[in-house]
Amino acid sequence: MAVCIAVIAKENYPLYIRSIPTENELKFHYTVHTSLDVVEEKISAVGKALVDQRELYLGLLYPTEDYKVYGYVTNSKVKFVIVVDSSNTALRDNEIRSMFRKLHNSYTDVMCNPFYNPGDPIQSKAFDNMVSAMMVQVC
C-alpha cells in the first residue's frame, strides 16, 4: 500500500506530498527527501544517453525495513516518489508502474489547467482524489 506519494518539482522541492498514516508524515517526508539523491543518481547515470532513452520509471530506489521507495521522473524532471509498505508484498512492479502512469496522467491534467502555474503546489482536487484512491487501493 502506498503510504506516501510525493511529487517533486524540477528544483527538488515538493509540489505535492501526501502520506497515509498522517502521524508519520515527517518520516515520510524525510524518506522522500533522501530518495531524491537516489533519483538524481539514476538520472545522471543515464546522462550520456539522450533523455528519450532514459526510462521514466526508475524502479525501486532503495528498500528499507518498513517500506520501499519507488521513483519515477518525467521528461521535465518532475519526480514522482511512491513509498509503499514493505509488508505489502503483493505489489508487483507492474502495479507500481501503473500507479506512476496514473500519477503522471493526473499531473499532466493538472498542468493543463491554465490557472495552474508550474511550480505551484498542486491543489487540484482531481489530483487529490486520484492520489487518495491510489493510496487506499493499493492497501
Partner: protein, 717 residues
C-alpha cells in the same frame, strides 16, 4: 401583540410579534425536513397551498421572502414568507412593506396544525422571481433568534453549499451582484429594501454578515439565502404543481444551463473563438475567466471540472459548463466536487442542439420562463411550469420556453417542451440570476445579455405576461427593457471602471493665505506698487519697539525676547502707528535689542495705542495680534489714524474692502506694506541677535558644565 423581541441588527428586519414568532417557529418545525435548516419544499408548498392563496400570490411571496433566490426556504425566508402570506390573506398587497405592520397570523387550511395553519401567509411566486433578483445580502432579513442558528446554517449552507438547493436565483444574484442589484430587480429590490427596513429584530444579519463580507459571497449569501427560500418554495411549488419535477430537478437546478445562459455563453465563446466547434485555448480562457474575479484556486477547480478531456482547451460545452460554474460560484454556490451531470459536455451537447432551434426566441424563452415562474399560474395546471410560464395577465413579452400545455399560444421552444427539465422553474430562475451574473461578468455582452436579463427582470416585475405575444413583440419589448436596464445594470467591468475612476476629490480649497502676509502683500503690491517701494524705504532697523509693550498681553508666557517679536508683529498690525512711530520704533529696536522688553514695552505701549486702530491691510497673522492689541488698546483711546479709515479701523478684517476705500486706504495700505517690511527686517535682526545670545548662553552653559565636571570627579573619588 407586541413586537417581537428579535434583535434589531440595524434595520431591514422584520419584527415578529411573539405570537407570530411562536406560530412561525411551529410552522417552521412543521416544515422542517432536514437538519440543514432548509425547509422541505414539499411541506412548504403544502403549507402555502393550505393558505388558499392564489398561485400568483404564492409566487410573489416566495420571491419576496427570498426563497426563490436561494432555492430553498431558510428560516428567514420562511418567516418572511409566512408574514407575507398573512398579509396576503389579510388583503394587503404582497409586498415587504405590508409585513412591516402587525399582521394577523396566516391561515392555513388543511394543515396539521390548524392554529398555525391559520397563520401562513400566502406565498406568491413572485417572491421567487424576486428572490432571483434581490441580490441583497440576506442580512436584511431578520429572523428571530430562534432561527438564528438555522438561519446561520442556511446561510452558511447557502453560501457554501448552495448547489444542493436548486437556487436558480443565486447564480443570478451573485454573479452580478452589482448587476443584479441594479438591473434585475427594480421592484424586488424595492421590496427587498422594504423588507430590510421592516425586519428589525433579527440577527441573521450577523451570521450572514461575515459570510457576506466577501464581494462574491455577499451577493451569494443573499442569493443563497434567497435561494434557500426559493428552493424550498420552488420545491413546494413544484411539488404542488408538477409531479414530474422531482426534487432532484430542483436540486440540480443551479447546474442546469438555461437557454438564455447557453446563448450567452455561446456568445461569449464566440467572442473568444469565432469557430464554435473549435476550442478555446487555455490561456485565452484563463484570461477570460480571470475577469470574473474569482480566486485562482477556484478558477482552477472550475477548470478542472469543466475541462473534461483535460486537453487544456475548452470546447463549447466545456466552456458553457465552466462559465456556468463561474456564474454559480459567483452567486454563492459552492463548487461541486465533480461536474454535475447537467454540465457534462455530453449533456450540454445535446442541449446545444435543441436550444438552437429556438435561438431566435431564446431570449424570449428564457424570459418567458422567468415570467412564468414568477407568475401565478393556476395550480390546476398539470405542469407547474406551464402554469408558471403562462403569462396570462400582462402582455409581457415573455416567451415561455416551458411547454405551456394549453396555455397561451406563446412561443415555446420546442426544445423546451422536449426538455421539460430544462424548462424548469429553476432554469428560469437561473436565467435571471445567471443572466445577471453574466451581464455582470462581461458587460460587453450586455446587449444580448440584457435581453435575457431583462426578460427575467421584466417578468418578475410584471405579473405574468401574456405569452401570446409574438416573439417579435416580446423581443422588442425585451430589448427595450434591456435598454432601460443597461443603464442601471452594473457589470463587473463597469464596477471596475468606476473603481478605476474614483470621484475626483473636491478641489482643495485654495490656500488662502489667511495668515501669509505675502499674499496680502502681493495683492497689496499689485494695487500699490508705490507702496511697495515705499515699504522698503525705511531701514530695517525699525523694530516697533513700542510694540514690545503691547505684546505682553498676548505673549505672557513667552520670554521677553519672544515678546519682542510679537511686539513687532503688533507693530505691523498697527501700521498707522508704525508710520508715526517709525523713528520711535527704530530707536526702540536698537534699545530693545540691548535692553529687555521692559524698556521696550514702555516704549511700545504708546505704539500699541497707535497700533490699535486697525490697519486695513492687516495681515491675517497680524490680525491676531492686532486684535489683541486692539483689545488691549480698546480701552485706550486710540487716535484715529488718518490713513486707516474707520472702515479699516476695526481691523477685524484683514482686508477691508480696499477697493472700496478711497485713496486714503491706498496710502494706508502702502504704509502698512512698508511697515510690514520694516517690521520684517526688524524681526529678522532681532532674531539674529537672539540667536547670538542663545549661542552665548550655550557657551556659558558648556563652560559651566565643564567646570562642574572638573569638580565632580574630585568628589567621586
Amino acid at each position: 401583540m407586541d413586537q417581537g423581541p428579535g434583535t434589531v441588527s440595524g434595520g431591514g428586519f422584520i419584527s415578529l410579534s411573539e405570537n407570530e414568532q411562536r406560530c412561525y417557529s411551529d410552522l417552521y418545525t412543521l416544515c422542517k425536513a432536514d437538519s440543514s435548516g432548509k425547509l422541505a419544499a414539499s411541506k412548504v408548498g403544502e403549507l402555502f397551498r393550505a393558505s388558499q392563496l392564489p398561485a400568483d400570490t404564492l409566487h410573489q411571496v416566495t420571491e419576496l421572502c427570498g426563497a426563490k433566490r436561494l432555492g430553498y426556504f431558510g428560516t428567514g425566508q420562511f418567516y418572511v414568507a409566512l408574514k407575507l402570506l398573512a398579509a396576503a390573506q389579510s388583503g394587503f398587497p404582497v409586498r415587504l412593506e405590508s409585513i412591516k405592520s402587525e399582521m394577523p397570523l396566516p391561515r392555513f387550511v388543511g394543515m396539521k396544525n390548524d392554529a398555525e395553519v391559520l397563520r401562513y401567509p400566502n406565498h406568491s411566486q413572485n417572491t421567487e422571481s424576486q428572490g432571483h433578483q434581490l441580490g441583497k445580502p440576506p442580512t436584511t432579513i431578520a429572523w428571530p433568534s430562534l432561527d438564528k442558528n438555522s438561519l446561520k446554517r442556511t446561510e452558511s449552507l447557502g453560501d457554501k453549499q448552495a448547489p444542493q438547493s436548486p437556487p436558480p436565483s443565486p447564480p443570478n444574484s451573485p454573479s452580478s451582484s452589482s448587476y443584479q442589484d441594479k438591473a434585475l430587480s427594480y421592484s424586488y429590490r424595492k421590496q427587498w429594501n422594504s423588507t430590510e427596513q421592516l425586519t428589525a429584530s433579527y440577527e441573521s444579519k450577523h451570521p450572514s454578515r461575515p459570510l457576506l463580507q466577501q464581494e462574491v459571497s455577499s451577493p451569494s449569501n443573499y442569493g443563497s439565502k434567497s435561494s434557500l427560500t426559493h428552493s424550498s418554495v420552488t420545491q413546494a411549488l413544484s411539488v404542488e404543481r408538477s409531479a414530474e419535477e422531482g426534487s432532484a430537478d430542483n436540486h440540480d437546478d443551479p447546474w442546469r444551463i438555461t437557454e438564455e445562459q447557453r446563448d450567452y455563453y455561446t456568445i461569449q465563446f464566440k467572442s473568444l473563438q469565432p469557430d464554435l466547434s473549435s476550442l478555446i485555448s487555455g490561456s485565452v480562457a484563463k484570461n477570460f475567466f480571470t475577469k470574473s474575479k474569482l480566486s485562482i484556486p477556484e478558477l482552477s477547480h472550475i477548470w478542472e471540472l469543466s475541462d473534461v478531456d483535460c486537453d487544456g482547451a475548452l470546447t463549447l460545452p466545456e466552456f458553457c459548463a465552466a462559465f456556468h460554474l463561474i456564474v454559480a460560484r459567483k452567486n454563492g454556490y459552492s463548487l461541486p466536487e465533480k461536474l454535475p451531470q447537467t454540465l457534462q459536455p455530453a449533456f450540454l451537447q445535446i442541449d446545444a442542439v435543441s436550444p438552437k432551434t429556438k435561438r431566435d426566441g431564446a431570449f424570449l424563452g428564457s424570459y418567458s420562463e422567468l415570467v412564468p415562474s414568477s407568475q401565478q399560474k393556476e395550480p390546476a395546471h398539470s405542469e407547474q411550469w406551464e402554469a408558471i410560464n403562462e403569462l396570462p395577465t400582462t402582455p409581457e413579452p415573455l416567451i415561455v420556453f416551458e411547454d405551456e400545455s394549453g396555455t397561451a399560444p406563446q412561443e415555446t421552444n420546442t426544445v423546451e417542451s422536449t426538455h421539460p427539465p430544462l424548462s424548469d422553474k429553476s432554469t428560469s430562475k437561473q436565467e435571471p440570476r445567471i443572466d445577471s451574473c453574466m451581464s455582470a461578468f462581461s458587460p460587453k455582452r450586455n446587449p444580448a445579455f440584457k435581453d435575457t436579463s431583462v426578460d427575467e427582470h421584466t417578468p418578475v416585475e410584471n405579473p405574468p405576461a401574456a405569452k401570446t405575444d409574438p416573439p417579435q413583440e416580446l423581443e422588442h419589448q425585451v430589448k427595450s427593457r434591456t435598454r432601460q436596464r443597461s443603464y442601471s445594470s452594473t457589470s463587473i467591468d463597469d464596477a471596475m471602471k468606476k473603481v478605476e475612476e474614483p470621484p475626483r476629490p473636491p478641489p482643495r480649497p485654495q490656500k488662502t493665505h489667511s495668515r501669509a502676509s505675502s499674499l496680502d502683500l502681493n495683492t497689496i503690491f499689485q494695487q500699490n506698487s508705490q507702496g511697495f517701494k515705499r515699504g522698503w524705504l525705511p531701514p530695517p532697523a525699525l523694530p516697533p519697539r513700542p510694540l514690545a509693550g503691547q505684546i505682553p498681553h498676548f505673549v505672557s508666557s513667552t520670554e521677553t525676547t519672544s515678546q519682542q517679536k510679537p511686539v513687532r508683529k503688533l507693530n505691523f498690525a498697527d501700521f498707522s502707528k508704525f508710520s508715526e512711530e517709525e523713528e520711535n520704533a527704530a530707536k526702540n529696536e536698537a534699545q530693545g535689542q540691548l535692553s529687555k522688553a521692559a524698556g521696550s514695552s514702555e516704549e511700545s505701549s504708546p505704539l500699541k495705542k497707535d497700533i490699535l486702530p486697525a490697519q486695513p491691510p492687516l495681515k491675517p497673522i497680524r490680525r491676531k495680534y492686532r486684535l489683541e492689541s486692539q483689545n488691549l488698546d480698546s480701552q485706550e483711546p486710540t487716535p484715529p489714524l488718518p490713513p486707516p479709515s474707520s472702515s479699516s479701523a476695526p481691523g477685524t478684517k484683514p482686508y477691508p474692502p480696499v477697493q472700496k476705500q478711497s485713496s486714503r486706504q491706498k496710502r494706508a495700505i502702502q504704509t502698512a506694506i512698508r511697515k510690514n517690511k520694516e517690521a520684517n527686517a526688524v524681526l529678522a535682526r532681532l532674531n539674529s541677535e537672539l540667536q547670538q545670545q542663545l549661542k552665548e548662553a550655550h557657551l556659558d552653559r558648556i563652560t559651566l558644565e565643564t567646570q562642574l565636571d572638573q569638580l565632580r570627579p574630585v568628589s567621586y573619588l
